[in-house]
Amino acid sequence: MPVRAAWHRPPSRWFDAGSRRRTDAVHRRVVAIPDSITCEARMNSLHNVFIRSLLFAAAALLLFCEAHAQPRALPLGVLRSGIEFAGADVRGMQADDLANPGFLWVERGEKLWREEASGASGKSCASCHGDATASMRGVAARYPAFDAGSGTVFDLEARINDCRVRRQKQEPLLRESDDLLGLTAYVALQSKGMSMAARIDGPAGAAFDRGRVLYGTRHGQMNISCAQCHEQNWGKRLYAETLSQGHGNAFPAYKLEWQTMGSLQRRIRACIFGVRAEMPAAGAQELTDLELYLAWRAQGLPVEAPGVRR
């Protein structure tokens, strides 16, 4: 089995041409400043050396800022949660904790939180983390996050499984299993209403960059990118559906289409299926990279988990 799924690879020459154009545009922008420095350097006076270093510092600052303040295709002011694209019935289901079937999973997660591990450790989640309403508050809002121990970015599901394996000495839970969805939903619920605030600086930066590239890359037989639907055409119709901005702030969510709870990875995989691209395995790095990019572009939207979606 290949370690990295090839679903994001350029499927056509059309893509290659577009890609080159983009690269050229970026390249021109970046080299514009060093050109002016070269001109300055031709003038031969101490005064101009001073100006030159000033210009250089300004250019360096510009490049630095550009690298850290990531450009946003969707400015923070126009962000709209997926629930705003849903009908009144779905909105009503999400708003009512009893009508929202996601809370059946939350209750399962709450039970598991306190249940002692059957493995060697005999520890429950609560043995270390205590009351989840206090200890897990805000956690989901900043995931996916970099994990120093493994040197990779973890989504909430990976974090829970890592704890299970390393601390509780248990088998990891299967992705999309009711138990893992339950625990994730229970943990995510503790951040409900808080603003999405994933960090992309420092060691998470590489995953973020990969995620951003994936997001803007054309995939599959349909040869379209995530951005073409969710950034360039949100609000318009795709058959009977209104294209949302594609935010993940409600996940894990109860999808009426699935008749069950599902993770953000499952939702992303549904889009990958939709564009007829090669399917990455559950938990694949590409999916986590995309999750991190999604979390960043949804910055400031409230966590809605467990949400309800059509």
Binding site: P101, F103, L104, W105, E107, G182, Q259
Partner: protein, 106 residues
């Protein structure tokens, strides 16, 4: 999974309607689907659901394939005296579920 979640008012005046809401965890397999191998998946839905108020049947539903997974029911029962509401359901596979809620009449 949690089998069910129930919600009703903490206390109701005698003669008034109690709003009962219950959400039941069940896949409600329609019987119209096939598995990955193409074999039909047997129907398994909650066939009967009943609610008793201090032992007296007050509400019952017969469900079928048309009901979505994890059914959510909302109905009204007239408050007579304090006691319990007993819920019971059975699916096509014969699995039974039960739940109870306390009624307080003031």
């Amino acid at each position: 999974m949690a089998d069910s979640r129930i919600n009703l008012a903490a206390a109701t005046r005698q003669g008034e309607a109690i709003e009962v809401r219950i959400s039941i965890r069940h896949a409600m397999e329609t019987g119209y689907r096939t598995d990955d191998g193409g074999k039909p998946v047997a129907r398994n839905v909650i066939r009967n659901f009943a609610c008793r108020y201090n032992g007296v049947p007050v509400f019952a539903v017969r469900m079928s394939s048309g009901i979505a997974a994890n059914p959510y029911l909302r109905f009204f029962v007239t408050a007579r005296e304090s006691g319990t509401l007993d819920f019971e359901w059975v699916d096509d596979a014969g699995a039974r579920g039960m739940a109870q809620a306390a009624v307080k009449v003031v």
